[in-house]
């Protein structure tokens, strides 16, 4: 049982780490703000989600598990809002790089 949990954790967290890596590379390499944002939100939403998913089997109690999911949801909310704001600012031409 614990082996299955560990395998799932390793798989999901590795996948999450991969998305973070890809997102970071994209953030550094993509040419303009909107595409960079695209890369960043992938890392945030999917990467963080997968990491949280991977950690859930390791949670000691239901409360800890709920806290983990709460972190993911708050991360999603913040990420979505901030990317919206940045994208709007970029479209209005305030960020020219």
């Amino acid at each position: 049982m614990s082996l299955a949990r560990d395998v799932m954790t390793i798989a999901a967290v590795s996948a999450g780490a991969f998305f973070f890596l890809a997102g970071t590379v994209g953030l550094l390499r993509f040419p303009d703000t909107l595409t960079r944002l695209h890369a960043l939100t992938k890392a945030d939403n999917l990467g963080l989600g997968l990491v949280v998913l991977g950690l859930l089997p390791q949670a000691a109690s239901l409360r800890d598990g709920l806290k983990l999911v709460g972190i993911w949801l708050l991360g999603l909310l913040a990420g979505a809002t901030v990317s919206q704001l940045i994208a709007r600012a970029a479209r209005h031409g305030q960020l020219n790089r």
Binding site: L74, L77, A78, T81, Q84, L85
Partner: protein
Amino acid sequence: MSIETVIEIVLAAVVLTLGVWTIVVPETFSATVGFVAYGLLVALIWVRLDAADVALTEAAIGGGLGGVLLLGAAARLRDADMMADARPGKLLRAGAAALSVLTAAVLAGVVLLLPDPAPTLAPAAVANAWATGLSNPVTNVLMAFRAMDTMLEKVVLLLAIIGVWSLAPDSAWGGRPGPRHQADPRGVLAFLARLLPPVGIVIGIYILWTGSDHPGGAFQGGAILASMWLLAIMAGLADTPLVSHRSVRFILVAGPGLFLLVGLAGLLFGAAFLSYPPALAKPLILGIEIAMTLTIAATLGLLLAGAPERSTEP
């Protein structure tokens, strides 16, 4: 070398790289962003040092509110070169670099020379925890053993507010701090500012409450409440209060005031100034912490809002 040491070395290296970048990058705005990232990663170091209370504080201040403060200033001072001193010459910079490296080297040497096993007060703090009934030793130190420092620190916060307000133009004295923020009421910021505060307030209160037994406490909780308030202000849902308003003033002194009153009660009726009778210790400390959380939230929010700029008359 264990995997943990490798992670720690990588973490330290990333933190230092960010630190170097923060210092040498030419644009002030980039330096500010670098500092925010630095602060968040330093919070991770605190976790690795097994100091979760400090990690929370560092994340709330170094990466959070401190970042907001610095970013706001960087945005407002975008082309403020007139305030800069002359750029020091190459020779001076080399000298300063040499001296800083030397100082860091001396410090590093001293750190390596610290005695082993290290002297510690942890056993004493744990052994005396009975006096308060709280099982978070950091809260015990802050609220009981070294309560004087905490009280003076709250007065420092109040003086910072007075110092910031003292910079108001005479015409705006008693008015509202900072500019009035306008945001699209159906925009995403306003949406967030409606959605997040209920959650944030619950989390802030939870962190205050859990601080008596687990990592957390008045300062960390207050910082979260302050950020919720600031979010509402930035989204245009709320305005900064009049600084002359009596209730604002009252909230700002509630924490240190209650602290002082409980302390004086201990002087008059109890064992000593800032001592708590063991039976009442927990409720008294919690009461002070609740008042302090409110005070801290208001203080941090107003510190970020800045000096009064708009006079009482519209």
